[in-house]
């Protein structure tokens, strides 16, 4: 991470650099995580109102 910090001076660029490739090829799996998280947390506790919206947002932003 130190290497990336040296070359990124603004937050968005830094986060982009940190995220690129970290989950390479895992797009489908990670989209699954999102849906799974909001469903489970809502149903079983530790959850917060409107987490259906999280799910919806992720359906819309699937890449």
């Amino acid at each position: 991470m130190a290497r990336k910090e040296e070359t990124a001076t603004d937050r968005r660029t830094f986060l982009k650099m940190a995220s690129v490739g970290t989950l390479a090829g895992g797009a489908a799996a990670v989209t699954g995580v999102s849906a799974q998280a909001s469903e489970e947390i809502q149903v079983e506790g530790s959850g917060y109102r409107e987490s259906e919206h999280v799910k919806r947002v992720y359906e819309l932003s699937r890449f």
Binding site: A18, T22, A24, G26, V57
Partner: protein
């Protein structure tokens, strides 16, 4: 709050870095809210990463998805967080910051939640400053789950006050915990990700 307003954040969420952040927060929240069951394990097994430290930690976690039965995972979760009387770790912000549960940090978190329109689900009995809960709250601020997507400044304030002050210590403890086997890479991912978040927020 109309539905269209709640979804207005969709275009913003398409920014790659926010997508990345929300996903990791949700992954961590899911795994720490309860032991992973069949569907969640399928997701875990499919995680991939590059050869960065964080990518390697995702590889380890994915590999762990094949190594333990669901019963073993329930036992490990219990040993770590529930235990006989108390688990090996106490995953609450108030405990990490004061040594006791339900102290001032919890009251402060509740105030912040009120301001941000975050409400606890009715069936939840444990204090709101549970690690899984604050991870889910961060995800919600990023995605706009609580009405509208929180500004970077709001996210930073919430992170500094209620997450960055203790979650890194918790994840370090989780990675080092005697009972942690499946959960060891979760502790590693949490530490690396908290450091990314801290460094990123410091840039503003």
């Amino acid at each position: 709050m109309s539905a269209s307003a709640a979804y207005a954040s969709d275009s913003a969420l398409k920014s790659e870095e926010d997508h990345f952040r929300a996903q990791i927060y949700l992954l961590i929240a899911s795994l720490l809210a309860r032991p992973p069951g069949g569907e969640m394990l399928t997701v875990v097994r499919q995680l991939q990463g590059d050869d960065s430290d964080l990518g390697k930690a995702f590889h380890s976690l994915a590999a762990n998805g094949d190594k333990f039965s669901e019963e073993q995972l329930r036992h490990e979760f219990n040993d770590l967080f529930i235990g006989m009387g108390r688990g090996e770790l106490v995953p609450f912000g108030s405990y990490y910051l004061t040594g006791f549960l339900n102290e001032k940090p919890l009251a402060k978190l509740r105030n912040a939640m009120r301001e941000l329109n975050i409400t606890r689900a009715d069936e939840v009995k444990e204090p709101e400053d549970n690690i899984a809960s604050v991870m889910e709250m961060m995800a919600g601020l990023i995605t706009g789950a609580f009405g509208s997507q929180a500004s970077d400044a709001t996210q930073k304030e919430f992170f500094d006050q209620h997450v960055g002050s203790w979650a890194p210590h918790f994840f370090k403890d989780l990675e080092a915990a005697e009972s942690a086997k499946f959960y060891k890479p979760v502790g590693r991912i949490g530490q690396l990700f908290m450091e990314i978040e801290r460094a990123a927020f410091a840039m503003e």
